[in-house]
Symmetry: D2
Subunit: 349 residues, 4 copies
């Protein structure tokens, strides 16, 4: 079968012909890929930026960690899905036995692997090996292809927003920095889950209208100060209650901290830059800074329910898997609006 | 009356003879000071390090923000205390009307003042003007003098520990960095409020025994790496669940972050240094960093109840208010063990 | 001035001419009533059902506990409102000093009074004496008259829904029993604050359409079993996650418990009937039953913000205060749709 | 092998010779029983009181749901334990796949079975079939026999107390009704997990001293009013903040509700009686009533950690399994102090 594999850092993945994966383990499932989302993390992997964080995976391997499709084959102990089921896949393969799994904290499983990232094969391929624990079954008849970006981009935004939602009561302000792949989910989810005023900040003018169309109450250009002055004006000089930063580089952490009110919460989702402040600032203003990592299986189930109800829509476009190198180049150049989804040739249930 | 006032930065406060404060406002109270705790923040104020953060207060003013004593006079609307009552004073004067006050978040009152810090007179004096809302009434017959350090040092430790207590279940590890004025409360409070394993880290050998005598399960020398390697060994390489950092400078933030487990929480109480990490670290490990600012009025009531029950004891020693300059010098030189409390000449109910 | 006072139980209140209240206390405020909501509790008071619960108040007194208007006069210490301000009034007069007040739990103030209920005069009058702590300032130019029902009916619904909102994630079902004065707020607030499926149950057919127009996903006739069978069918036999019962009598508690899933939550808002189950049922199904009492001051502020944004609308109609006896009779007979608001003759700022 | 099986309701279980269970399923484990706790629920099962609640199980079957022992054999997919490991067993067999399991709510697993209760064989036997997900591994060298009562009695108490612990801050009062099998864990766990004042209520005088020896601050005889008057006196007429009722019959629910303060919480653990109040009482006092069902797997892990540290001890005594009928009779007659544990003949690893 075809698979887009990374052979060397700083070179695009190459379409190879590889053997089909097999469902050898009792809980293995083989999924026919309907669509695989293209994520900024793919660029970071290819650039070689994450080698150490990913444990120096052996090359080549198939990338792609936002996957949806149809169950093709299952291991002997699998009960929750059957061949033919449309599924979206939680991005992590987890053990179900460690303390984190027993508490529902899938992202912190002691024995997790991250297919498409850490050297186990991902979803830029015709077939993908996953596990029963990762499969979220979709309503019969659902076309899974364009739901793929929910698996990671959507889930990560949902996890971050659910964490801060109890703080976001009526009368509070939440600033969303970055209205791209994750941020466009973020704006919609804030609208669905909270009555807060939503202020979107971006440095691309066309995204400001986009943000408002998704539910932002106000959208402001990042400008030279990252939007700090505008946010302070909108909040009578007091600062915003919450910032969710879907960028995490190019100075957004500094801006985020400056635009927060005393007692405010800075939620970090995007990454790439430094986060620098002082302990005096942390205590004098009683700031809370929260990292976020993917989300739980149940959160993905909840998110797919919101998608089914039409409460969250996705801006995504299909591209042939064969064009993966071109798509990644266009994505890096900022020329792809919304989310790109790679479709293997002839994908169907 | 006598008061120790700051006349110029980088010079010790001077004992002046000043007029007695009056209870002009309806909720004013005048407290005869039994004891006033000496805090590291006093050194920072005198050094001039906090001028900007405190809004450039006009000199001279009386410092001292950890105060306990007896109510001397009250304004016409005061109902919660009466002359003669022994009281410990919440360090902030709050309005009772803003959204923060109406939620019980005293530290974030929109109209707060911080006597002894921001230019309003503090408690290094015979009498102190405070407000009814700050007064926590003590059991009849209590000697308030040595309870003064609970008002700020104790309260701040209590607030930080109450915030993380829900995470500190049996089987978790909490590292306490710094077993000085605040940290010695911290160790005791963790013991009372959680079943977690308590690991104390300090760079002064005599404090390691002190920590164990207060309830620490393990105490380790900070050493060159701030205790990181020892904590990792104690946790089978996984890292600690929680760090409470009562130092906040000299590299402790860096050590704290390195010794945390994935999904761990870093609670910042001490201050003075930089806090630097990356957004990748925050999201890849899903870290939470929590600042802490004083505590609420009700938390101070709870803490005084713990003190009354003997569940938290204080290591404090009395010094005459007249010797304030000497005490501050000795404190800065690290030659005062436990907490110093300044006692005005002839203090009694 | 005119006031509708209760002179004897089981007789309608009578319009009397009484002296105007005075702002004698430092925090007293005198409010010119724009509108006073008519609440089922008024019927219970008049019927004499609540004498014991209200501490056997001395007659006569003015009833009416859902009040909005304009500040007319203020006591000398009042700072948060000024004459001319449009306000809605929190129904309780609270002390601001007890542990409950210091935690923001206004409903549990140790020294509270409940004007219009417990013998202190309420708002069925031209002027009403209240306290600064009860006043929520409205945006300039707001007409307060029809906002009165938010003060108690709206606030109580908001408080109950905010309490269960963290449980009401996507994919859960919330049943609302009773779509009258409180329930019609309840349906709207669930829609704004949660992504849950909302199922309305009522025994009046016209209210089923009303419920759907307010945002209920499904509405079902109570029928003989109180809707139990329908709810079980809608939830595949599993039961609903949450019930909010705005009726609390005529068998609704029994139905509510029967239609809950294991681990479900029954939130009680309406009252009048018995609540009977067994301890075996409580533990075998791990049920949670939550009473609700009014709400906090900050919750009223949040609710008024939702009203300002148009996210919650009120179904209310104006009636002259002089017609109070007729209005109460029509209300008791079930012939008033939505909420009735009594307007004193010539009410204006 | 020997097993004590229930052949007919209202007759004691009979020691039978039955085939040894086999580890056929991939996650089956066979445990050699070291000890099996005798629980009041066993009496209820035998009396036939729970037939309907347990789904009318087919007789005969082996009872006993508090089990500890050594792993004897494991199914092919089991990784978390190995033959020879000392284990205590979570009382429920759960699927690991449903929404409840994925959230860590083991007690609400959609596909759970309850060995020893619902017709699948329990632990009054030489060998017991359980599942990998139920096994909590003990430290090497631990003697599991007397730890058996932690599996259900201890776990249920722990679960209930962890649920109310965030409410039980310094200065609050928690009343424990019933200091028997579960209650004696309850008193100790409150002491370890909260700084609240603990008041024990029991109608057996010898248990009042017992309660104090376990950490109760006060213990009072239930008397005719179930301790209501004494509790009101201890709380200055205000009522207690929390009641945990380990009896749940003979009038304790009524007493519990009467002794609560407004805004208080009634936690139900014991069962057998009626729970009757009114909706007016629920809302006028804003009471919360919480049922409790067993506990989670992770809670059992935490509890065993507390036991390992010696923070919770068990009052238990060994009896030969062969004497099960006698033991149950003595237990029913109230002549067994602490917890009885049945030991199969020759039990050893």
């Amino acid at each position: 079968m075809k698979a887009a594999r990374l052979h060397a850092y700083q070179q695009p993945p190459r379409i190879d012909d590889v053997p089909e994966p097999e469902a050898k383990g009792p809980f293995d499932i083989i999924v026919r890929v309907a669509g695989a989302g293209v994520c900024r993390t793919d660029l970071h992997i290819i650039a070689g930026m994450m080698q150490a964080d990913l444990g120096h995976p052996a090359l080549p391997y198939t990338i792609g960690h936002e996957n949806a499709g149809w169950v093709e084959r299952i291991g002997p102990a699998v009960r929750n899905v059957a061949p033919g089921d449309a599924v979206v896949l939680h991005p992590l393969a987890t053990c179900g036995e460690c303390a984190a799994c027993r508490a529902g904290n899938d992202s912190h499983c002691s024995n997790r692997s991250f297919p498409g990232l850490d050297g186990s094969d991902g979803g830029y391929a015709v077939l993908l090996k996953s596990t029963a624990r990762a499969a979220v079954k979709l309503a019969p008849g659902t076309d899974p292809a364009l739901l793929a970006p929910f698996a990671d981009a959507g889930l990560t935004a949902y996890h971050a927003i659910k964490k801060i939602a109890p703080l976001a009561h009526a009368g509070t302000t939440v600033v969303v920095i970055g209205v791209g792949g994750l941020g466009h989910f973020g704006v919609q989810l804030l609208k669905v889950l909270t009555p807060a005023r939503i202020v979107a900040v971006d440095n691309q003018p066309e995204r400001l209208d986009f943000a408002r169309s998704l539910g932002a109450d106000v959208s402001i250009a990042a400008g030279e100060d990252g939007g700090v002055r505008s946010v302070l004006e909108l909040t009578d000089g007091r600062g915003t209650d919450i910032v969710i930063d879907f960028v995490g580089e190019h100075g957004t952490p500094e801006s985020a901290i400056r635009m927060l009110r005393d007692g405010g919460t800075y939620s970090v989702v995007g990454y790439g830059g430094a986060l620098a402040t002082t302990t005096l600032e942390m205590i004098n203003r009683e700031l809370h800074i929260l990292g976020n990592k993917v989300g739980t299986y149940n959160e993905l189930v909840e998110l797919m329910e919101l998608a089914r109800q039409g409460k969250v829509r996705i801006e995504a476009r299909r591209y042939p898997l064969d064009e993966v190198a071109d798509v990644l180049r266009e994505f890096e150049a900022g020329r792809i609006m919304g989310r790109a989804v790679l479709i293997p040739d002839g994908a169907r249930p």
